[in-house]
């Protein structure tokens, strides 16, 4: 599965994207985030404030309960801030 990071989450984890094997026992976004935290360092730091973490699966906004498949494209990012004033 392809995992992408944007904005300050990218800076905290230190990479823009990576290929990740769906970890054993992980079936949804919440499970993947718990696994991410176990990687320590920047990953643990990036996922500490879950109130400001958003997820997209296959380029669609999803909730934490969204199921995951090994072929998915998963993206983690802070709340969006585009547009004008």
């Amino acid at each position: 599965m392809k995992v992408l990071y944007f904005a300050w989450m990218r800076e905290r984890v230190g990479i823009a994207e990576e290929d990740v094997e769906l970890p054993a026992g992980v079936t949804d976004v919440a499970g993947l985030i718990e696994w991410m935290k176990t990687r320590g360092g920047g990953f643990e730091n990036a996922f500490t404030e879950m109130a400001v973490v958003r997820t997209a699966v296959n380029q669609v906004h999803v909730e934490l309960s969204h199921p995951l498949d090994g072929g998915d494209e998963v993206a983690f990012f802070p709340p969006v801030t585009g547009g004008g004033a």
């Binding site: 992408l4 944007f6 904005a7 300050w8 400001v52 997209a56 380029q59 669609v60 906004h61 993206a75 990012f77 802070p78 709340p79 969006v80 801030t81 585009g82 547009g83 004008g84 004033a85």
Partner: protein, 150 residues
């Protein structure tokens, strides 16, 4: 119609192009929203901002927002242009144009599009201020503005 680009846009040219596209559609009202980089004041004063986005998802989200607007209002045409990259105060960030038979639909749809864009389209801003660069936090008031269309 959706465009995500680094280059600036010419609002007059875009309005004329829309008028040419809708010629014969009996659209009596066009509405425009232009978002511009603010300099801010005091501690909030900025020298520049940089917009990044999620290529692929951005275009999908914007197309979805346009489709939602077209379901809610009878629109003859929609144009959304959003810029990325480094912008300075006074630069244009975003253009939303709508056209409809009557003004109410054009104005409401334009407001809806910018409100939803701000909370759904995957763009992120960082601001340069006094030699520091920091990511802009999302504002609750933007969520409230978007939620009024639910």
């Amino acid at each position: 119609m959706i465009r995500v680009q680094q280059e600036d846009f010419d609002t007059g040219a875009e309005i004329n192009a829309m008028r040419a596209r809708i010629a014969g559609a009996d659209a009596g009202g066009l509405c425009s929203f232009i978002g511009v980089v603010r300099e801010g004041e005091g501690a909030d004063q900025i020298a520049a901002m940089t917009l990044v986005h999620y290529p692929g998802m951005t275009e999908k989200e914007l197309a979805g927002i346009e489709a939602e607007a077209r379901q809610r209002w009878p629109l003859a045409d929609v144009m959304i242009i959003h810029r990325t990259g480094r912008l300075i105060p006074g630069d244009q960030i975003v253009l939303v144009l709508t056209a409809s038979a009557h003004r109410k639909a054009a104005i409401e749809a334009c407001e809806f599009l910018i409100d939803w864009l701000k909370t759904k389209a995957p763009f992120w801003k960082s601001e340069e201020s006094a030699g520091d660069t920091r990511w802009v936090a999302a504002r609750a008031s933007d969520d409230e503005a978007a939620a009024k269309w639910d």
